[in-house]
């Protein structure tokens, strides 16, 4: 099969892949621009291209875009796209500790492995996996999300109350806008712009980057010390001991990311939030999460890249787009007269192989390109703050504005800069807030949808396999935690 994959390729297509990855990485790294926007803008330009070239370009942009956002997340505490917000949590503290190069290196390697693991699933198990995914009912979704939330609560040591408050705040931020069921507006307070709710990116950029800028202005003595010479290139590559330490975490996170990607309508940010929650729950040092934990970083990055391959699974095997980007890809395919669906494999096998090959090659290109440039990019961490801060401020504003050409989003970003600042000054962690913000909409939609199937009854929903397993895991983890605390 590998042979037939490679045969379906020529040098022109390869160039498109390189172009796509490079553009994707650059756009992904710029806050306010996402792979989705890049692909949407590129799509009309691909109408005149060969189908294989078009789809290779678009898929490569997808792979590059999810990867590129780790750069600004780690170096500037500014998630380039929502997919890398969990990366920010541990990546930026590592930069503050003078380990920017190492953080970038680990994140890039984890991204690559995540991409490759999901690729293996895509190539070998596309059809059975999507068969399994469509068996998943709404309440199974809900049980999975609640398990992730419970694990975080159970295992957050120390400030459990503060964690809960931050998590609830995240849930509240997710509420205004269009009611996911019925589509009516809620909590818009008569503000037309709020009818779409708070866009994720301005909120995240404000909470993390805007907050950081304000804090540096108000308390200059706390400013991050400029790091000199701490970012040697040799730190970037994974060593044997790193592989030994992280292989299980990366594999698990990649599998989680792939699975979340396969589930329809669930994006990369959720895959990474999920993997982060599970990694923290099963870590021996959960205290370190949010303070520069390497495990948190690799969990987030391997999972968000794995969602790319995962989301292609239902698209190729059933014609059902797993994410917004996949809906765009589907549009691109249809323009070229290719209708993804169960028959695509029989009617256009070459084409399916070409997509497989693209995902693989794009991941390799991503790895090489990012390794080659990271040495230079990491130097951003050495720029004195007085030069970096104004640039960051401009990026925050432009990025928020560019999301949907609206000043309202800039206002949202500014408000959440203040919110983030207050929370962190009062020692509230932003991680539970983000997890609440990202997971609450899924939990709400799936719960309300599930109870419509049973006319409001909850018991018949719980007594099905997936929820029972989730409950069992949660209780088991809680019990173990309790015993550990007792012994300690």
């Amino acid at each position: 099969m590998i042979a037939s994959i490679l045969v379906s390729f020529d040098i022109g297509t390869l160039l498109y892949i390189v172009l796509g990855v490079v553009l994707g990485v650059v756009v992904g790294a710029i806050p306010g621009m996402t792979a989705t926007m890049l692909i949407a803008l590129t799509l009309p330009l691909t109408f005149g291209m060969e189908a294989v070239d078009a789809i290779s370009l678009l898929v490569s942009m997808y792979v590059g875009g999810v990867s590129g956002s780790l750069i600004t997340a780690i170096l500037m505490r500014m998630p380039g796209t929502p997919a890398s917000v969990m990366t920010t949590l541990d990546g930026y503290p590592m930069t503050q500790q003078g380990k920017a190069g190492r953080a970038l290196g680990l994140a890039i390697s984890a991204s690559f492995v995540g991409g490759i693991i999901s690729w293996v699933f895509l190539v070998l198990l596309a059809r059975p996996l999507s068969e399994l995914a469509i068996k998943f009912g709404e309440f199974d979704f809900f049980a999975m999300v609640v398990m992730a939330l419970l694990l975080i609560v159970i295992l957050s040591k120390g400030n459990m109350i503060k964690g809960l408050i931050a998590g609830l705040l995240g849930v509240l931020i997710a509420l205004p806008g269009v009611d996911p069921i019925g589509g009516n507006y809620r909590f818009t307070f008569g503000i037309t712009e709020l009818q779409n709710g708070f866009s994720l990116l301005p909120v995240l950029v404000g909470l993390f980057a805007g907050n950081q800028i304000l804090s540096s202005i108000l308390w200059p003595e706390n400013r991050q010390k400029t790091q000199q010479g701490a970012n040697s290139i040799s730190d970037m590559f994974m060593r044997k001991c790193d592989v030994k330490r992280h292989w299980f975490n990366i594999t698990r996170s990649s599998v989680i990311g792939t699975w979340v990607g396969i589930l329809p309508g669930v994006g990369a940010n959720i895959g990474s939030a999920f993997a982060y929650a599970v990694a923290k729950a099963s870590s021996k040092n959960p205290d370190q999460y949010g303070k520069g934990s390497e495990s948190g970083l690799v969990a987030s990055e391997s999972a968000n890249n794995a969602t790319v391959g995962g989301a292609l699974v239902p698209l190729i095997s059933l014609g059902i787009p797993g994410s917004v980007v996949d809906a765009l890809l589907l549009g691109g395919l249809v323009i070229h007269g290719l209708q993804p669906g169960p028959n695509l494999f029989n009617s256009n096998p070459d084409f399916v192989y070409a997509i497989f090959a693209t995902v693989l090659i794009a991941n390799v290109v991503m790895l090489l390109f990012m390794y080659m440039t990271t040495g230079y990019i990491a130097k951003i961490a050495q720029i004195p703050q007085k030069f970096l801060l104004p640039v960051l401020a401009v990026l925050c504003i432009v990025g928020s504005y560019a999301m949907s050409n609206s000043w309202f989003n800039v206002l949202v970003m500014m408000i959440f800069s203040v919110v983030g600042l207050i929370l962190e000054r009062k020692n509230y962690s932003l991680a539970p807030l983000v997890i609440g913000l990202v997971l609450a909409p899924i939990a709400e939609t799936s719960y309300r949808s599930a109870t419509m199937y049973t006319d409001g009854e909850v018991l018949p929903l719980i007594l099905t396999p997936v929820p029972l397993v989730c409950i069992a895991i949660s209780i088991l983890m809680g019990f173990l935690m309790f015993r550990m605390n007792k012994n300690a």
Partner: protein, 322 residues
């Protein structure tokens, strides 16, 4: 020498005719259009509506003799972009391309304005809707669906996006009396409804014709009716609801709106250009390949159609929102 003169003459004529055309163009400049026209697509780039617009764009530019700028303004189920178009200057340089979704948003009061706040230029391009059930489902036609509750002792589960067009379409074909009513559950748009049908979580769902096509052809889902007036060309064996004696005709009908108060001549020029673009054979083929129908209905008839459909939707809204 003669040759050169000849060439020279030719060149002069060519240049002159270009000049004449240009001058004529500017002489005509007090007629519409004399600058690029903005067309607002109130959905995201790359979505179904965006693809329809971008497919038509080159043909429409040609027949208008002006360039078109497509602006995607997604949000609030097409209400955000429609509102922007409503507030634009009524000079014919802002056009809104929206479909039946705008009417359902108005009926359910998600839009705080009405189709009467716009000038309807024309209806053009139509995407049919179909009624689908899982493979091996005991439901084979709309009569089976109506009899489901009595026969199986429980209501058929209908997956829809509450308040959206597939909900209204389901409301048109599904019985509403207590003995045979279906149970509505939230699945969402096409992709999610397809997944729910494949996973047999629901008994019946509404899909757009082109998105259903691959799963129908592979036999993974089954069609029980199409909701267009005539049979869908690529599903020739599927009976329409009308043929099955159910008064239901609803699809994704694209309507071209302008802000209220545009000069009639301007609207006519745009409508005429649209009509000739839509009639182009290669555009017809391009649209057909994507599962759409390139129907065209001028302004007055379109308004009547919209009024009629709006009335039907209001009646259905009373039954399905109970």
């Amino acid at each position: 020498m003669i040759n050169i003169t000849k060439h020279f003459k030719k060149t002069v004529i060519a240049v002159a005719s270009v000049l004449v055309v240009t001058v004529a163009g500017s002489a005509f400049a007090d007629t519409y259009p004399k600058k690029p026209i903005k067309i607002i697509v109130p959905f995201g780039a790359g979505g179904g509506s965006d693809i329809v617009m971008r497919t038509i764009q080159p043909y429409l530019e040609k027949s208008l003799g002006e360039s078109i700028v497509v602006i995607n303004v997604p949000g609030s189920g097409s209400v955000a972009g429609s509102r922007r178009a409503k507030g634009a200057k009524a000079d014919g340089y802002t056009v809104l391309l929206n479909h039946t979704t705008l009417l359902t948003a108005m009926v359910t009061k998600k839009a705080d304005f009405s189709y009467k706040d716009f000038d309807i230029v024309a209806n053009a391009v139509y995407m049919p809707l179909v009624v689908a059930v899982p493979k091996n489902s005991p439901i084979n036609n709309l009569q089976d669906l109506a009899a489901f509750k009595k026969k199986h002792g429980k209501a058929a589960i209908a997956g829809v996006n509450l308040g959206a067009i597939n909900h209204f379409a389901m409301g048109m074909i599904a019985p509403s009396d207590k003995e045979s009513a279906v149970r509505y559950v939230q699945t969402g748009g096409g992709a999610k409804t397809m997944a729910a049908l494949l996973g047999k979580h629901i008994d019946v769902g509404i899909l757009a014709g082109p998105e259903a096509k691959p799963l129908i052809e592979s036999g993974d889902i089954k069609l029980i009716a199409s909701l267009s007036d005539q049979r869908i060309p690529y599903f020739p064996n599927t009976l329409t609801a009308l043929e099955q004696g159910v008064e239901a005709s609803i699809g994704i009908q694209y309507t071209w709106y302008m802000p209220k108060g545009v000069d009639q001549d301007t609207k006519d020029i745009f409508a005429k250009a649209l009509s000739s673009a839509i009639g182009n054979d290669s555009l017809v083929k391009a649209l057909t390949d994507r599962g759409s129908v390139s129907n065209y209905l001028p302004g007055k008839e379109s308004l009547l159609r919209v009024e009629k459909l709006f009335g039907q939707l209001e009646i259905i809204n009373n039954t399905i929102s109970k």
